[in-house]
């Protein structure tokens, strides 16, 4: 089992690098998860990550990319609610990658 060392604490990850215990997430954990993949998180990344966390809090599911795109457009404006923008921030797939940094499970239906 993989793990992430942060401030002397060991945080468990599953075989794909997602948090085992969603409750162990903090913004520092998000940073560290991104850094492990050579990604420096900007404010634009955080907008999406925070949005995902709110979505999960409300609905208890990690949204599919299509749903995320639509919802981001509604919340943050049309300029951000398109897959080109989201893929520019999260080239490995906004669902997969952003959910990982947000400490959510991999979206259902995401392969």
């Amino acid at each position: 089992m993989a793990s992430l060392e942060i401030n002397g604490q060991s945080i468990e990850l599953d075989e794909e690098g997602y948090l085992v215990d969603l409750g162990s997430w903090t913004p520092e954990v998000g940073e560290a998860l991104a850094k492990a993949e050579d990604v420096e998180l900007t404010d634009e990344h955080w907008d999406i990550i925070n949005f995902l966390r709110e979505y999960y809090e409300e609905y208890q599911i990690a949204p599919a990319v299509r749903v995320l795109t639509k919802a981001v457009g509604k919340r943050l404006g049309k300029a951000k609610g398109n897959s080109k923008y989201l893929y520019s921030l999260f080239p490995y797939g906004p669902g997969k990658q952003a959910c990982k940094y947000a400490g959510l499970p991999k979206p259902t239906g995401c392969v």
Binding site: E58, Q60, I61, P63, A64, R66, V67, T108, G109
Partner: protein
């Protein structure tokens, strides 16, 4: 990809067995493939979409709010059998407010819940190409 009419038939209470949660997962996967999806809630399955669920006493995740997200997945047909509600002393007011947004009508929120009697439910089922029972 060809679109098929899928119906997911839910007959079990939300907790105690894993059927309801598994059904929901498969619904979300099918939605990702842009299929024509409807859900049916029959027998104890109607409890899956009741308001005010509280799972603190059983230590399980309360996933009922996930049904509210289904509108975002373009799932707008949730057939609820009237007789099943009545047999359990429930009314439509006991159900969550499940809506979808109609893009062709200025994104107006419309209810996804369609109350049908047993006979009408049978007719809807007969129209389906794929029926999955949980």
């Amino acid at each position: 990809m060809a679109t098929k009419k899928f119906m997911f038939v839910n007959r079990k209470a939300p907790y105690g067995t894993v059927y309801a949660l598994e059904s929901l997962e498969v619904v979300l996967i099918a939605a990702a493939f842009d299929q024509d999806i409807s859900l049916a809630f029959i027998d104890d399955g109607v409890y899956q979409i009741t308001k005010g669920q509280d799972t603190t006493g059983i230590g399980q995740k309360n996933f009922s709010n996930a049904y509210k997200a289904l509108g975002d997945y373009d799932i707008s047909k949730m057939y609820v059998e009237k007789e099943s509600l009545e047999e359990r002393g429930l009314t439509p007011d006991d159900l969550m407010n499940l809506v979808w947004e109609d893009e062709d009508d200025d994104y107006k929120e419309k209810s996804s819940i369609i109350l049908v009697n047993r006979e009408e439910m049978a007719a809807v089922m007969a129209e389906q190409e794929v029926t999955l029972s949980f």
